[in-house]
């Protein structure tokens, strides 16, 4: 059981390729962190995962099924992709109704249970009857995470899930990462937030100008500064200080 990309390239009609020859596989219980500069093709990669976009060449396999042959509504049962902007998806007037949307669409059997668990994991259970737009934006972000968890999909993919989170939500987020690992869910996360996510990553993929310049274990990233630089990124300040002290 895995999500696998085999030599995937993608270009929007007639344009130059956004992604070139990307291959990786994400396992259940694993955490793949995808890093790279803005506009490097990370969001395109996410859209390939659930078949919203189909690869120009190569294959995307979700649990062995080629995405080219399946509609997104079917693939959404296996992998739930959440985009960056909560405003793109929030439509209900209560938190609970919002979180219910996914599992109901996917016809899960135990909707109430899924929703309750997700709300508790994201620390939103006490706010279930509130209007999403009455929450601070950081909690609205967690709401989209709760929606994804409640979908019941074995794989979850996120675009910058920790952007704008403060310490309160960050500790909630770390808690749910641990819980999801225990549930054997697979995570694929696109993020700049190395400080928060690098410790949880089981694999890291670095993209630069549409190409995969590194795919492998996470420790190497903090040790080889050049790798990060090559992607046009910088390590968080504490990591850099650590190096400074090491010398």
């Amino acid at each position: 059981m895995s999500i696998e990309l085999r030599n995937v390239s993608f270009s929007y009609a007639g344009d130059r390729p956004v992604l070139r020859d990307v291959s990786f596989s994400a396992e259940q219980g694993g955490f793949l962190l995808i890093i790279g500069q803005n506009g490097v093709g990370k969001s395109t990669l996410l859209k390939l995962l659930n078949g919203i976009l189909k690869p120009t060449s190569g294959q995307v396999l979700v649990n062995g099924v080629n995405t080219a042959t399946q509609p997104t509504s079917r693939l959404a049962k296996e992998i739930c992709v959440t985009f960056q902007n909560p405003a793109d998806q929030i439509f209900a007037s209560t938190i609970r109704a919002e979180v219910e949307f996914g599992p109901r669409n996917l016809r899960r059997k135990n909707v109430d249970q899924l929703v309750d668990d997700a709300l508790v994991l994201c620390g939103l259970d006490a706010l279930a009857s509130h209007h999403p737009y009455d929450l601070p934006s950081a909690q609205r972000k967690l709401l989209t995470v709760a929606s994804a968890i409640a979908s019941g999909a074995p794989y979850l993919a996120f675009d910058e899930p920790s952007a704008g989170l403060s310490q309160i939500e960050r500790s909630v987020f770390e808690g749910l990462l641990t819980a999801l690992k225990k549930e054997d869910r697979g995570m694929i996360v696109v993020s700049h937030d190395l400080a928060l996510l690098l410790p949880y990553a089981t694999a890291v993929l670095i993209l630069a100008r549409g190409e995969m310049i590194y795919y492998g274990n996470a420790e190497v990233v903090t040790q080889q500064d050049g790798l990060i630089r090559k992607a046009g990124l910088r390590l968080p300040l504490p990591y850099r200080l650590e190096k400074l002290f090491g010398k």
Partner: protein, 277 residues
């Protein structure tokens, strides 16, 4: 040019029946410095900025406030009743919202601010182009404001405020969804304008603030937990691990403190990195 901000025992409730968002906050932000207000969601950071910008009274007519706010020469008992622009510039968290979209070009969008203030110079380009150059976006002057990338939008949004040369600049969580390279660029820009502008920014993390700010304020549940220099903050780092994400910082604490106290090459390099010098 820049204005000093003095806030004295300032308290705020959104309405008489709801719990307070800010309780007896007192701050002194000297002119031409940068102050970072840090704290978790709901600490009252944005509310404080809204009070300083003058939107609180307008948007929440039922709010109850006490204490005084002094910006430059002007003293307000409780809340200012109107938006203080262009004396105070306030950049919202989402830069896309800041760009009105009613003008075809970035240049026009920035000119729009000058039209609003009623102070359009005879040669607007002579004011706007140098500003764009300073922010490193002069090549975007003729672009459509809605066709820009996130980082570019942020700098254009900043320009729409800065063009009015506000003596006080408020930035609400400017680094959300910015990669570190973009943060570095913004930090450079802010450093360049500190002399002429008093900057108050809010953030949920420490990293951006270090290296730019002269003063750190930690706010939690409407109360000031800490108010002092970055160096003083680093000394008391472990007190704030529930309010700020510091798990990467705490292991380094001892070393930072040791190096800060003894002047060595490594120490001065560290001080430089953290903006303590």
């Amino acid at each position: 040019m820049a204005d000093r901000i003095v806030i004295q025992s300032f308290s705020l409730q959104y309405s008489a029946t709801t719990p307070g968002v800010l309780s007896s906050v007192s701050l002194d932000i000297p002119s031409g410095t940068c102050c970072a207000i840090l704290g978790p969601t709901g600490a009252g950071k944005s509310s404080l900025l809204q009070c300083l910008a003058g939107t609180m009274q307008r948007h929440h007519p039922e709010s109850v406030a006490s204490g005084t706010i002094q910006i430059g020469e002007r003293l307000f008992e409780a809340l200012p009743s109107h938006v203080l622009f262009p004396s105070v510039g306030y950049a919202l968290q989402d830069p896309h919202v800041q760009i009105s979209g009613v003008r075809d070009t970035v240049f026009g969008e920035i000119l729009f601010t000058l039209e609003n203030t009623g102070e359009v110079p005879d040669e607007p380009a002579a004011v706007i182009l140098p500003l764009l150059r300073k922010l490193g976006i002069d090549h975007l002057a003729d672009r459509k404001p809605t066709s820009l990338s996130g980082g570019e939008t942020q700098r254009v949004a900043l320009a729409t405020i800065l063009v009015a040369q506000p003596p006080v600049l408020l930035l609400d969580e400017p680094t959300t969804a910015m990669d570190l390279a973009a943060q570095e660029k913004l930090r450079g820009i802010l450093r360049g304008m500190k002399q002429s502008t008093t900057i108050v920014l809010t953030d949920t993390q420490l990293d951006f603030a270090l290296g730019i700010c002269d003063q750190i304020v930690v706010l939690e549940q409407g109360k000031v937990l800490f108010d002092g220099t970055p160096a003083a903050f680093l000394r008391r780092l472990d007190e704030f691990h529930t309010s700020l994400p510091l798990e990467n910082w705490l292991p380094l604490r001892q070393q930072i403190l040791r190096l800060l106290d003894q002047p060595s090459r490594l120490g001065s390099r560290l001080a430089l990195t953290l903006g303590l010098k």
